[in-house]
């Protein structure tokens, strides 16, 4: 009993805390600010709680929550990001009259996100995932601008699609394994014909959240549309929920080479496509969003490798978690920086700019950054799994990342976010928290007793793509390629789709296609009425004739009766 209570408190509490904190919004002035710290329990649990699981059979269809090592990594960065974004956001939005609304959605999404990390069964995962996804809609459309609504619409459509796919995936996995617990999923038969369908559904369902090509179209629209703190968690934390889902659902450790290859191809496409399109953006946040697509492409490749080579799966899982960790802090820091850079005072601007270079470098994989470690780990796994051919493109991708980072910094410098105000203490606090998170690993690695094994070769390996990127950027500048002229609006594939659909609004198409009155609802039409009155005339006439021939009728009946009985 005690275990149960303790377990619930430890492993379900973090997810519930943000929801409980919402109650604070109802009360008076100062305690409301505590809403911003709703992620603190999660962080504490992530850092100090033991691993383990607890079963709550009465909840949903039999809930199992708990913490495992992968979950811990995810929870650490997720909670940190939400905490930083919360603190930052509370101050960032202090003039916004919809701040309470914002935090309602923010905390709900936060709860969902933590729940996703802590869930150990498919159903509660699904519940928290939905909670997170739907609540995020409120973040995306927070500004209520047409752009935001457009982005929101695209977002929600894909959320729904993702939910459906996830539903299908869960149903199929449950059918395959006979259980709703992730721990049983792996054991499910590899021979079952539906396994492929299950994997496909999983890839689609969570790929939407991850921003995997070609399901990424919502991401460059939605992430920038949200207020910056929300963008930070969307791009930094929530995007990883999809990744975690992959880790949880996919049968890593069993072979699915076809799917592995597909994922590698799509991942590489995302890596390069995302970066290049990102480099052609006009909005810093759009560029960052594309960068996220690109970065998640790395992880997609990693998981693809794991699926095609089962023995690499454990290492790949760890590498993916590490990469996610690194990307989360870096991307969140960049987003916050974007909102602060344009409006900060000169002195502060330096600090912010400096703060932004750090994650930019990390993303590009510069030595000594978290990115370098993560990338090294990633490449090691890829190479170990026998995918040497992929290693080179991955290195090259760093050049593309450098490009997009440069572009971002360039745009951020010149961007002015309308309505933004000078950073106040809360914003700084959140920002610093992320800086620590971003730089911390460096410190951690520097202190590490083990040899990091950073050889020159590896160093060079890490640096040359950055150099290439810089060179490309400089060359472009020299050649006066006007990025502005070449720029692509965010949304790429979606735009094509939308163009195709324009003028053929779906709803109105449906409306046109279906007959207006119900096919079968009876409308006693004019024809029927006329028919009735005609029938009436005929019948009345018949009765008159009968009456006139009354005797004959009687005799006829008698005759017929006689015939019938004789």
């Amino acid at each position: 009993m005690l275990d149960l209570l303790l377990g619930s408190a430890l492993w379900l509490g973090p997810a519930l805390a943000p929801l409980v904190a919402l109650l604070l919004l109802l009360v008076g002035s100062w305690p409301r600010a505590a809403v911003a710290f709703a992620a603190l329990p999660a962080l504490l649990v992530a850092l100090f709680a033991p691993t383990g699981t607890v079963d709550l059979p009465w909840l949903l269809l039999g809930t199992r929550v708990g913490l495992d090592e992968t979950g811990r990594i995810f929870l650490i960065f997720t909670a940190s990001l939400w905490l930083a974004a919360g603190i930052h956001g509370w101050s960032y939005l202090h003039e916004d009259r919809r701040r309470a609304t914002f935090f309602a959605f923010f905390n709900t999404a936060m709860a969902g996100n933590f729940g996703v990390v802590l869930a150990q069964d498919a159903v509660s995962f699904y519940v928290f995932f939905a909670l997170m996804s739907f609540a995020s809609y409120g973040l995306v459309v927070h500004t209520r601008s047409p752009d935001a609504f457009h982005a929101g619409r695209v977002y929600i459509v894909l959320v729904i699609a993702g939910e459906l796919a996830l539903f299908v995936a869960i149903v199929l996995w449950m059918n395959l394994s006979g259980s709703i617990y992730f721990s049983d999923f792996i054991a499910s038969s590899t021979a079952a014909p539906t396994r492929d369908w299950a994997i496909a559904a999983t890839l689609i369902a969570l790929g939407i959240k991850v921003g995997a090509v070609p399901l990424h179209v919502w991401l460059p629209l939605a992430h920038p549309a949200a207020p910056t703190p929300a963008s930070a968690v969307l791009s930094g934390a929530m995007i990883k929920a999809g990744l975690l889902g992959w880790l949880r659902f996919l049968p890593l450790g069993t072979a699915a080479p076809g799917w592995g290859h597909t994922m590698i191809m799509l991942g590489l496409t995302a890596v390069f496509g995302g970066a290049l399109i990102g480099a052609l953006q006009r909005e810093p946040k759009s560029a960052l969003a594309y960068s996220s697509i690109s970065q998640m492409g790395f992880i997609t490749v990693l998981l693809g490798v794991a699926l095609s080579a089962p023995e690499a799966a454990p290492a790949a899982g760890l590498a993916a978690a590490l990469y996610a960790f690194h990307h989360a802090f870096a991307k969140a820091l960049l987003f916050l920086g974007v909102s602060m850079l344009g409006v900060a005072s000169r002195l502060a601007r330096g600090a912010v700019a400096g703060g932004m270079v750090l994650p930019a470098l990390a993303l590009a994989g510069a030595p000594l950054t978290s990115g370098a470690v993560a990338k090294a780990e990633l490449k090691a796994v890829v190479i170990a799994a026998g995918w040497k051919s992929v290693a080179l493109p991955l290195s090259l991708a760093a050049a593309a990342t450098t490009l997009v980072m440069l572009r971002t910094l360039y745009l951020a410098r010149h961007a002015s976010s309308p309505g933004a105000h000078a950073p106040n203490w809360g914003m700084w606090a959140g920002w610093w928290l992320l800086v620590i998170g971003c730089a911390g690993p460096i410190w951690f690695f520097a202190q590490a007793p083990v040899d990091l094994g950073i050889s020159f070769g590896e160093l060079a390996n890490a640096v040359w793509p950055i150099g290439l990127g810089l060179a490309l950027a400089l060359a472009g500048r020299r050649l006066q390629w006007s990025v502005d002229r070449l720029s692509l609006p965010p949304g790429d594939l979606l735009l094509l789709l939308l163009r195709a659909w324009r003028g053929a609004n779906f709803a109105s198409a449906v409306r046109r296609a279906l007959p207006k009155p119900d096919l079968l609802s009876p409308r006693p039409g004019l024809a029927l009425r006329m028919g009735l009155s005609r029938a009436e005339a005929v019948l009345s006439e018949a009765e008159v004739v009968l009456a006139r021939r009354a005797g004959l009728a009687v005799l006829l009946v008698a005759a017929v009766i006689l015939l019938a009985i004789s």
Binding site: R549, G551, L552, L555, L556, A558, A559
Partner: protein, 311 residues
Amino acid sequence: MTADAAALDILLAVLLVFLVWRLLTLSDLFKATILFIVFGLLLSLAWVRLRAPDVALAEAAIGSGVTGALVLDALRRLGAHGAVDEARPLRLNLARLSGGLLVACLGAILLWSVLSLPAGWRGLSAEAMAAMPHSGVTNPVTASLLNFRSHDTLLEIAVLMLAVLGVWTLDAEPKPSAEPAGPILDLLVRILLPLMVVVAGYLLWAGGHAPGGAFQGAAVLAAGGILLHLARPFYLGNHVIIRLVIGFGFAVFLAIGVMLVVGGGRFLEFPSRHAGTLILVVEAAATISIALILLALFVGNVREGAGRDAP
């Protein structure tokens, strides 16, 4: 059976059929009605030939007499316009053809039934004869009517009452133009009326042992009333006296029937010792009622001052 008797029968039969044919095809309904009365009288003859004098009397008095008078009276009220039927019954069309065929088939079957009857057909005559000593009367027809099948007769009197009630429910009719009674009619009434009352009384009394009985007597009585009405039109209305007299016969009959039950017997079970008396009482009461009923039917629902003119 002698040949001339047979010839008479055949002649009578043919005549009857011919009359029927004529009266149904004549366009003048007045003539047709006269033929109908003649037909009724000839029918009485036929009943006599069939050894049914009671029926013959009833036919003459009621079937021909009263009905004829009623029809003539109705015709008079319909006037010249209403008395003409322009239909031509012989003009054939499909309906008539099929009707004719059906009727012909019916006739064939009925004829077959008549002809196929075994020669020794007895009916219930033996049973009736055996029961006669207990019936209280000696005329088997009276016994049948008022004892064996008294239930029928009770209801029959009810039917008579109903006819009057039915006539009373109708709106009053316009008074027919009062014609002064001729002196001959007046004389006839003066002579005939007492005679008719006597004849009626005789018929009633005779009913017990000879042809006659309540219905015949009542018909004669009613005929007297009709004559009187023709000579000096009067209107009956539905005063309490009239109602009492009309209901009297039926009430007495029913009361006796019920009394017999109360006395421990069955409904209408006349004890054979008192059967004759009871039957006579019933017949007497019935005669008065039936006479008035028939008269009321003839007089109709015409009241002085209450008449409404036809549109």
